[in-house]
Symmetry: C2
Subunit: 247 residues, 2 copies
């Protein structure tokens, strides 16, 4: 029997943990989502602080697999990829997968900063004016740049998968950012849709895969909400944006 995977992440949001959950689900892994179980958030915080055998961790998500504890989302996925057959085994493919995953991570960080442009430790309500400016820049300049690049990478690999000739963890993560951005910025994404046909079709194919479809329909999939990274604040997603926040 394969060693159990223990995922540690906040129990009430998709957040960065969702990229790992999707890989574990599609890979058919035997896993527990620790903070959603009996141990709760306390079990996660205990591990986060470190001990003699486990080095202190900066932030969730992290994964425990046997004696190994691994943090940073993209790092966790690079570790899981070959084990769950969610990336080809050769070094070049793994490097390309990590490259795209890290660029998705950059997009996720910038998405977070649309509602927290001044400080992660401050309330959204204390930075709404700045959030409006940052979200306008994000939607007008950054989303087209990131998603346009993802579209071009998909096209360069034949249009159906990001890496090789079958599904990888990168495809799952691309699904998640399209889903998340569509939740957070429905107006902006409806304007983007015709510019990213391959990426959108990939999103739909991933959502329809048997294991992913079952997961999305289950109570293991937490709903998007305004505590996570992809938050829907209508004031950050107007029907139309002027070309620049400073025009």
């Amino acid at each position: 029997m394969t060693t159990l995977y223990e995922l540690y992440y906040w129990p009430s949001i998709q957040g960065r943990g969702e990229f790992v959950r999707l890989a574990l689900e599609e890979g058919g892994a035997r896993y527990v989502d620790v903070a959603r179980g009996k141990g709760g958030v306390q079990a996660m915080m205990r591990m986060l602080r470190g001990s003699k055998s486990v080095a202190p961790l900066f932030a969730p998500p992290f994964l425990k697999h046997g004696a190994l504890v691994i943090a940073q989302t993209a790092n966790v996925l690079a570790y899981l990829g070959p084990r769950l057959k969610l990336v080809p085994a050769d070094e070049a493919s793994r490097a390309r997968a990590l490259e795209i995953q890290l660029t998705i991570a950059d997009l996720v960080a910038e998405t977070h900063d649309t509602h927290h442009p001044i400080g992660v430790d401050l309330y959204y309500e204390d930075q709404t004016a700045e959030a409006k400016k940052r979200a306008a820049e994000f939607v007008v300049k950054r989303v087209p740049k990131f998603l346009g690049w993802l579209e071009s990478r998909l096209a360069h690999n034949g249009g159906r998968e990001f890496i090789g000739a079958r599904i990888s963890y990168v495809d799952l993560s691309a699904f998640q950012v399209v889903a998340g951005l569509s939740y957070a910025f429905p107006n902006a994404m409806s304007r983007m849709k015709r510019k990213i046909p391959k990426l959108w079709a990939l999103h739909d194919r991933v959502a329809a895969r048997p294991r992913i479809a079952a997961y999305l329909a289950s109570d293991r999939r937490i709903s998007f909400n305004e505590d996570g990274i992809f938050r829907h604040y209508p004031e950050l997603d107007p029907k139309a944006h002027r070309r620049s926040a400073h025009d």
Copy 2:
């Protein structure tokens, strides 16, 4: 003879490329810094756009090694690490190195956002008011959290190196962030210094290593400047900060 490494990065700033330059220098690699040579930035932009054989890249830095082109700083370092003997070969050590490197990358991204809190495509002068607020949050809350965590990881591994028992690319990157933050925020860093004695001593040891010392004294090392990531704007580094930007 080993295959030549070709680094592609902006020729007038340290930026993210500097983490790769430091690894190539300490590793004694045979390399060219392409955009600083005859081909200039145009050679970099040509590669960035992609071709039939090379997929389009999101941003520099990237590395060409034989037929392989690798982007994303931490990904490049994960590739170079085993080849330049700048990380132990076992998977657990490599995963720990990438974890810390990615957390340093997060700190670098947050450093960048102190001078560009609203938009990377806007001038600093158009977002100075917001930059002051974000820098205050950064210096009071984020820098202590990041550097405090690095200090604790260093302590957990015995206090002298981040990974294993000899220098790794993570140590070089830790040197670079301490150097960069000291340039950008000298007042804040002088307040931090006594809280991170091991990290500061590591910075000093790295700077004194023969190959690094020779590099830092050479014209290959570009000076810190206000086009890079670590920028010194005195208005973002007052002598003292109130506890919170919103107190």
